[in-house]
């Protein structure tokens, strides 16, 4: 295999444009006659709209139009929906409240869109937005999910009595309760998973353009899945029929889940373009992003883990309240259910598991998938509980885990998932060795001499990626199939375009997908181009999230390549008068095995298109498409170890080392995989130590609405990481790959928190473990 095929550390093809300032993001797009939009947003967390007067705004300089929810509704634009049906344990369907892209008579969170103002410049649009007079009748607000469930709490939606969206369960309660009742030891935890703001560095943006002559719409948007955006905007929001709507997601500056969903702004910009007759561009300010991007996590959970006298886990009971915010975002319902409770077995053999999840409306930004989506929540509670159990039982955290590891595969858990392959002990050993776990006590003593508190913590995570088998997710309530599509277009001169439904917004698909093709055909990587992000070019796609582009997206390319290869071999056999079964592809040529007869790839391609001498009945050309539907989830797993030093005077935590030992199955490009782990771990460290979205409990104002108050991980907050991988190939897809995009964010928060709580000798600490909280916990611990 050439150096640029699978497994090669190839520098990225896409980098050149980014490092020279030639990337093309939505905000960079300019159309003739284009105008700028600003949204009028609710300053209140909860209020009835009593009137909207746009007359003064319309008179302002440069204003082209001011549009409100009433006009939107009059034009038949639909409400935003959640595309995954969850049924409560009583059999009733989830209670979805109406979410109009522009609020009509009620606003439910600070930032809820009320009107759009379109003007020549953004400054003018903002000036005019301030002149839109909205009268509100302010209501009481509730921001905490636990509070929203209390009797007498403010009610958000008439559809959801008591603000309860669903009350769902998974697993078997009776044997779980029995295991707990008869346990030798039960570890009980109250777990809070903090609310996060995804904060892709490129703020969301949309440019809507209605072409009157063609009666056709184009939407440039910051999307991880442009085809899904087109499908949903067409099928549910009534913006335009699919054949009249083109969605383009050009270079997108990070997503982390937050750009999966279809938001009000792209819908409204498209509709407003038709209404005003001009292309309408909107670019979020960062504060707007803080207020209106779908947030992540925000769970409160009670955990009980039962052990027998030999320290084997006998049962796990989990009761979770999940904050959904003011509306149900596109995939919100799947996150604390099938992406969460199905992973509660972790890496462990647990005979009985029961999870109950209540989903709750509050007057906050909608909550949906954020890097890891459900799996970090499961991992956090499990791994904090395991570490705590080890402390309570007086055994080594590593050995308690090892003792309970699943070692035989396939393994059916009590919570749907069937793990196909894994070797958890190998990751554990690799991490412990890389971290010099055995040498920790000496390091702790040395740190003590310097007045520092040193701690170590680990986390053994598993996740389900490669989302997902369509029939399986369909049976669980998904409104879409989660296959992926690809097209491999061999040009007449032998160069290749791969059109994929996956979308790259940092993942490096232009390189890794090209590596797959180059390696398979033995041609230079420069001759392979990857095309994505445009519904007019790519036949169809489900997009990029859930660490699925490798396992699902590349498998679709693989399948298309199978077809290309089969046809090419037929042509080669015909040209060389050989048996089709004897044709092999090597070093950019089709050869007759065991002979020196060969047809170079470019000649073969030309022959396919000249069609002067093809096998009888064969269609000319060399271009194949494939849809790949995975047969199972993939199960990346690994072990992370974090070592910290706490300054007892200030509560400041410094991460001394962070070790990640992952099993991602086969790896296409180790450099890119390592980069994904680095980024994920930094986000996990952010969740554990720095980040937290805070709403004022009374007013419902988002207190952390900018980088002045929301702590983003900076270079000085994180160390260099020690990463390694082991490999149990995934048996479920042709490439044997599992996915690596989310692991870092899933595995790291509990490792960090286990280390800090180890350092300070107190387990009473919630994320983010800020210096003040750590100091206070230390202070409280020493007082006792």
């Amino acid at each position: 295999m050439g150096v640029e095929g699978i497994g090669a550390r190839v520098a990225r093809k896409e980098d050149k444009r980014f490092i020279t300032g030639a990337g093309r993001y939505v905000e960079d797009m300019v159309l003739p006659g284009m105008r700028q939009a600003v949204f009028v947003r609710s300053p209140h967390a909860h209020a009835a709209i009593t009137s909207i007067d746009v007359s003064k705004a319309l008179e302002m300089p440069g204003v082209v139009g001011v549009l409100t929810g009433r006009e939107l509704k009059a034009d038949g634009i639909g409400n935003i929906i959640c595309g995954w049906m969850i049924h409560s344990k009583d059999g009733s369907p989830m209670k979805m409240g109406a979410w109009s892209p522009l609020a009509v008579d009620r606003v439910r969170y600070v930032g809820d869109a009320v009107a759009i103002v379109i003007a020549d410049t953004k400054g003018q649009a903002r000036d005019a937005a301030e002149a839109v007079e909205v009268s509100y009748d302010v209501r009481d607000a509730v921001t905490q999910a636990v509070d929203a469930l209390k009797p007498g709490a403010p009610q958000l939606h008439p559809e959801a009595e008591g603000n309860l969206i669903f009350d769902w369960e998974l697993g078997d309660a009776a044997p779980t309760d029995a295991a707990i009742a008869s346990a030798a030891h039960v570890t009980t935890m109250h777990i809070v998973n903090n609310r996060l703001v995804p904060n892709a560095m490129e703020p969301r943006a949309a440019l809507g353009y209605y072409d009157k002559a063609e009666d056709h719409y184009t939407c440039w948007t910051t999307s991880q899945n442009p085809h899904v955006a087109r499908l949903v905007m067409s099928a549910f929001y009534n913006v335009a029929p699919e054949n009249k709507l083109r969605v383009i997601a050009p270079d997108v500056g990070g997503g982390f889940g937050s750009k999966i969903f279809i938001y009000p702004e792209e819908i409204v910009c498209l509709w407003a373009s038709k209404k005003t007759g001009v292309p309408v561009k909107w670019v979020a300010d960062r504060t707007e992003s803080f207020m209106t991007d779908a947030h992540g996590r925000d769970h409160v959970t009670e955990v009980k883990m039962a052990f027998d006298a030999d320290n084997r886990i006998t049962g796990l009971k989990v009761d979770t309240i999940a904050n959904f915010g003011a509306y149900m975002s596109l995939f919100s319902s799947s996150v604390p259910t099938y992406l969460y409770a199905t992973l509660l077995s972790g890496q462990y053999n647990i005979p009985a598991i029961h999870a109950n999840v209540r989903a709750v409306y509050t007057n906050t930004s909608p909550v949906d998938a954020y890097r890891g989506a459900g799996r970090p929540e499961a991992t956090y509670l499990l791994e904090r509980t395991m570490e705590t159990a080890a402390r309570e039982l007086g055994v080594s955290p590593a050995e308690l885990r090892r003792q309970n590891f699943i070692t035989e595969f396939p393994h059916q858990t009590p919570v749907i998932m069937c793990y196909d392959a894994g070797d958890y002990a190998t990751s554990l050993d690799a991490a412990m060795q890389a971290a010099d776990y055995a040498g920790f006590p000496a390091r702790r003593d040395e740190a003590k001499q310097r007045g520092k508190l040193r701690g170590i913590g680990m986390s053994a995570y598993i996740e389900a990626c490669g989302i997902a088998p369509s029939a399986a997710v369909g049976s669980l309530g998904a409104g879409v199939g989660l296959w992926e599509s690809a097209e491999v277009r061999v040009n007449a001169v032998g160069t290749i375009e791969v059109l994929t439904g996956s979308h790259s917004h940092g993942q490096g698909h232009e390189t890794t997908f090209a590596q797959l093709v180059a390696g398979r055909l033995g041609i230079p990587i420069e001759q392979v181009s990857i095309v994505h992000g445009d519904t007019d070019k790519v036949q169809m796609g489900m997009g990029t999230y859930g660490s699925r582009s490798g396992a699902v997206g590349m498998s679709a390319v693989f399948k298309a390549l199978d077809k290309v290869e089969a046809k090419a071999k037929k042509i080669a056999a015909h040209l060389m008068e050989a048996d089709e079964g004897d044709i092999v592809i090597e070093n950019g040529a089709l050869k007759v095995a065991g002979t020196d007869k060969n047809v170079p790839w470019f000649q073969l391609a030309l022959a396919a298109y000249t069609a002067h001498n093809l096998p009888a009945g064969m269609e000319p050309g060399l271009k194949e498409t494939a849809f790949y539907d995975p047969s199972n989830f993939t199960f990346p797993a690994g072990c992370y170890i974090c070592e910290v030093e706490v300054d007892p005077d200030t509560g400041t935590t410094e991460i001394i080392q962070f070790v990640a030992a992952d099993d991602f199955g086969n790896i296409i490009n180790p450099m890119i995989v390592e980069g994904q782990v680095h980024g994920g771990v930094a986000q996990g460290i952010g969740q554990a130590m720095l980040e937290g979205a805070v709403y004022d409990r009374e007013s419902g104002q988002l207190v952390t609405a900018s980088y002045m108050d929301y702590t983003m991980p900076r270079a000085s907050d994180v160390p260099s990481f020690k990463v390694s991988t082991s490999n149990t190939p995934c048996p479920g897809n042709p490439l044997g790959i599992k996915g690596c995009g989310e692991a870092g964010a899933i595995g790291s928060p509990p490792a960090v928190m286990n280390a800090i709580t180890d350092a300070i000798g107190s387990n009473d600490l919630t994320m983010p473990a800020t210096p003040e909280k750590v100091w206070a916990a230390l202070h409280a611990a020493t007082k006792h």
């Binding site: 904060n199 490129e202 270079d251 994920g680």
Partner: protein, 163 residues
């Protein structure tokens, strides 16, 4: 409205702008230099960093009128024709970028950092000096590696010129 006149990437440019126009918007919207990005409203993320009279500054926190008379270099002006600047090359070689959005500001900040540290850089200094540049993708690991690698190349180049 103000008349502004600057040298941007070696080219003399003049124009008339609203006084409230920020330098970043002048570069992006008037000059079409869209490599310089805006990632926040509070002058913290550093996606907008350019060099004004040889120093890294946040172009989102400077009026175009303030910059009038200055010499500005943006990410588009860093390479020498087809030849990448050593910092650009190091970011590529070390996988110091993923989504690319923070990258222009990161690279401009990094070049300035090396310029200010002729004695050389170590990891702790690089991390501390990246205070004003936020990246959400890379976890900084490979950015730090890239800057250290480029600083070796750049300082070697300087030493050769001095010799």
């Amino acid at each position: 409205m103000s008349d502004v006149s600057l040298t941007v990437n070696g080219r003399r440019v003049t124009g008339t702008v609203e006084d409230r126009t920020l330098l970043v918007h002048y570069l992006r919207e008037h000059l079409g230099l869209t490599g310089t990005h805006v990632g926040c409203d509070t002058s913290q993320c550093g996606a907008c960093v350019v060099h004004v009279d040889g120093k890294a500054v946040k172009s989102c926190t400077m009026l175009a009128a303030q910059a009038s008379g200055s010499t500005v270099v943006t990410i588009e002006g860093l390479a020498n024709g087809a030849e990448l600047h050593p910092m650009q090359a190091a970011f590529k070689e070390n996988h110091g970028l993923q989504c690319g959005f923070c990258t222009p500001g990161m690279i401009m900040a990094a070049v300035d950092m090396v310029n200010r540290h002729p004695e050389g850089l170590d990891e702790a200094t690089v991390r501390a000096e990246l205070e004003g540049n936020i990246c959400r993708c890379t976890g900084y690991h490979n950015i730090v590696k890239a800057i250290l690698a480029a600083s070796q190349v750049m300082l070697k180049g300087t030493a050769q010129v001095a010799a």
